[in-house]
Amino acid sequence: MAEITRVTSGIFEGIRIIELGMNYGIPFAGRILAAQGAEVIMVETSKLPQVLRHPPWIGLAGSGAYFPDLSAMKLSISLDLRYPEGQRIFKELVRISDVVTENFSPEAITEWGVDYETLKEVNPRLIYVSGPATGVSGPFRHFRGYGLMVAGLCGLAALTGTPDSPPQAPGLMPLPDALLGSLTPGLVAAALEWRERTGRGTHIELPLYLAGVTALGPHILDYVANQRISERMGNRDPYFAPHNVYPCQGEDRWCAITCFTDDQWQAFCRVIGNLEWPKDPKFATLQGRKQNEDELDRLIGEWTIHQKAEDVMEMMQQADVPAGMVQTAADLVTDPHLMARNYWRRTVHPIHGPHPNYSVPIGLSDTPFQWGCTSRTIGEHNQYVYGKLMGMPEEEIQKLAEEGVLV
């Protein structure tokens, strides 16, 4: 049975996107567009394979853990933009495409002649998306940065972690990239619609830095208005208690419990049963609970440590108290709710075989997101793109490959 590789129907069928991307942000966005039928062509060169094609970290053989997922439903061509011939071919491809997305350094983009100012002359209807680290211009334009680092620059790391720990910028979870990746597709859709109205393309610049800074919202105003610098609070909340993650039975098992109303607090007390301490008047009010929060958290932990995390979660939710066990990746795969929602799709890793993945978590009723297979080798679709789409004769493709351009 042939594996479905690309999604060919959907909101963006007939839209062609050239993705000059690496790492997470821009490829993440491309994946969302690909799942609605856009033809997303990744441009790479095997002489400088991108970092995510390598297996550090989790170390799945054959390619990094992330790459199969980020390349899902896309095509790959090999092209070395350091050659003038390569740049010319890129421009020819732009002529017959709708969108270019890129997150290389502004210097590289300019050096290769694939910046917006140049390409809009080639195709005035082109939508061009830049996802630089801090900006395509400005005093930091030359700064090199990855998503994990941007979490520091944008203030998010300073707000993450317990007060006695260093600021957290988890390496395996670059949040700014994910924020950029989830927002960009919407802006591309808006730009495509704008193009219908005006007949012109346009440039969208979404620096990772801004994707991160806008996440801080009220904290910025708190500084502007009150000169207050927010500090990290772990899992606590400035206004509510109990509000934390509590240790449960077993190795590294925890459950979050949060009470935002007096009703929820009373329900919480009923759930934990016949203990004396919840009846202490000092815990009866929110102010009292906040004032005695250390003791409150300790006492709750002394109860939860004897329970299984999933039981705590169930009991609390039955009583309408917001609670959730801290799930691991393995828990997610067997999460009964995610399974009932058909969140998981089957995908096949070229070496390791079948495993679950997910499409896009936006439930569109009439035009649902689809799913296709993952993992592309560089240049896997050279024949299709150069030969069929661009009409290059076979001999020319061969020659350019030999010269190192289509490699």
């Binding site: 909101i11 609605q36 550090p56 170390g59 853990a65 997922d69 400005g138 930091f140 030359h142 994990l148 680092m149 520091g152 620059l153 203030g155 998010l156 300073a158 707000l159 972690g161 317990t162 720990s165 957290q168 390496g171 670059p174 994910a178 924020l179 950029l180 927002l183 597709p185 919407g186 859709a189 619609e193 109205r197 440039h203 610049e205 830095y209 800074v213 806008t214 996440a215 919202g217 910025i220 610098i229 899992n235 993650v245 240790p247 935002f260 917001p322 959730g324 799930q327 691991t328 990746a329 828990d331 995610l338 009932a340 929602r341 969140y343 997910y358 978590p361 569109l364 009439d366 035009t367």
Partner: protein
């Protein structure tokens, strides 16, 4: 003035009815900031978010909530009581000319009021309705409750954030809400594009906070693939995931920096810099060269050298000097450093806007520039019911007397 069709406003053609709370208010803001006409529909006593801190000068007042002020820029406010039949009737009139409705009520609530998508699309087939809830509209847990911390736990995010010997922690600044709003924004623009270009009809969008948060991390971390295929579940690693060096946080004299030397050249630049400035030449040794995962085995030795170097220096200096030498290093900033950031100044990121109660404040701007159709903070968040007259009288045709009757009847 239902629409402002204007090339300069990316989303100027759209009217949005925003019934959302924390779970969707940022989505409404994004739409408004890029030009959509967003009506924030509040209950007569005011939206609950007006009572969320922080407050201007710590003054607890529904017109001084900085939370409200940030998330409702550019929106207009009308009050409306949906629990009252006449209130629902008025909403249905507004639906006639709306392009988008965003709501975050518990699943089933809108249906109980006769305001579910099936009913509303009958009034306006072009309507795009987006619901954002903790667990989505279907499934065994659809009625479960959450907040940002529960979202972090149940989506798998928290397990992987925090110190190795510490508890799982959530991201600061309530990222699960921001994430869901980003996805909702994308879903809404997708649905509008499809309507305008292909189908002529709207559709319904079901967003689950658990799923959107899990999706961010799953894609970035590839954890599920690893867990299933090679049984490696991954664990908290603080801000140094290990297996690679340098990739993470290093203490500075006045804070922290984050350094990632992925490529060999970046490592060479860092090693050169440290050797030059400290005289420490061990770090120049050939065995440490290469890509970052090749240095994994030498983490302990190299950590000591780099820590000793960074902790003597200020974080902003490390960043500026390091970047001059092509070393990828960023400081770990708080909001204070950001206000003085020359890059944000260059990007014109902050806008001063006046508000009748708190006066002029500097607001953070939009995440993306689109020079042809820029998003911007044109107006501060509205006062409670500030636009009742504009909408009810000028648009829907109620007289001032009728407005007074609606008000005393508790309908608006």
């Amino acid at each position: 003035m239902a629409t402002m069709q204007n090339e300069q406003m990316l989303l100027g053609a759209y009217r949005v009815l925003d019934l959302s709370d924390e779970k969707g208010v940022y989505c409404g803001k994004l739409l408004a900031d890029y030009g959509a006409d967003v009506l924030k529909i509040e209950p007569p006593q005011g939206d609950r978010m007006r009572w969320r801190g922080p407050f201007f000068h710590d003054d607890v007042d529904p017109e001084k909530s900085l939370y409200w002020l940030h998330f409702n820029t550019n929106k207009r406010s009308i009050t409306l009581n949906l629990e009252h039949e006449q209130g629902r009737h008025i909403l249905k009139r507004l639906i006639e000319t709306a392009d988008v409705l965003i709501e975050t009520f518990p699943p089933g609530y809108m249906k109980s009021l006769g305001l579910d998508y099936e009913a509303l699309k009958g009034i306006n087939p072009g309507l795009v309705m987006c619901s954002i809830t903790p667990f989505g509209q279907s499934g065994p847990r659809r009625d479960w409750k959450s907040g940002d911390l529960v979202n972090a736990a149940i989506s798998g995010m928290a397990h992987y954030v925090g110190e190795p010997d510490g508890p799982p922690v959530r991201f600061g600044a309530e990222q699960s809400f921001q994430t869901a709003s980003n996805y909702a924004f994308t879903g809404i623009l997708f649905a509008l594009y499809h309507r305008n270009v292909t189908s002529g009809r709207g559709q319904y969008i079901d967003i689950s906070l658990q799923e959107t948060y899990a999706a961010l991390w799953n894609a970035g971390g590839g954890m599920v693939q690893s867990a299933v295929l090679i049984g490696v579940a991954g664990a908290r690693a603080g801000n140094r995931p290990g297996l690679s060096f340098p990739y993470g946080g290093f203490p500075a004299r006045d804070g922290w920096v984050l350094i990632c030397c992925v490529d060999p050249g970046q490592w060479d630049a860092l090693a050169q810099w440290i050797a030059e400035v400290t005289g420490e030449t061990e770090i120049l040794d050939d065995m440490y060269k290469g890509r970052m995962w090749e240095r994994g085995p030498y983490q302990d030795i190299l950590e000591r050298i780099v820590d000793n170097f960074t902790q003597e220096r200020a974080m902003e200096e490390l960043m500026v000097e390091g970047q001059k030498r092509s070393v990828p290093v960023f400081s770990v900033r708080t909001v204070k450093e950001m206000m003085d950031c020359p890059q944000l100044a260059h990007l014109d990121f902050f806008t001063e806007v006046d508000h009748p109660v708190v006066g002029t404040l500097k607001y953070p701007g939009v995440p993306a520039f689109i020079p042809d159709a820029p998003g911007q903070i044109r107006a501060s968040a509205p006062l409670l019911g500030q636009h009742n007259q504009e909408i009810y009288c000028e648009e829907l045709g109620f007289s001032k007397e009728q407005l007074g009757i609606l008000r005393s009847g508790g309908i608006i």
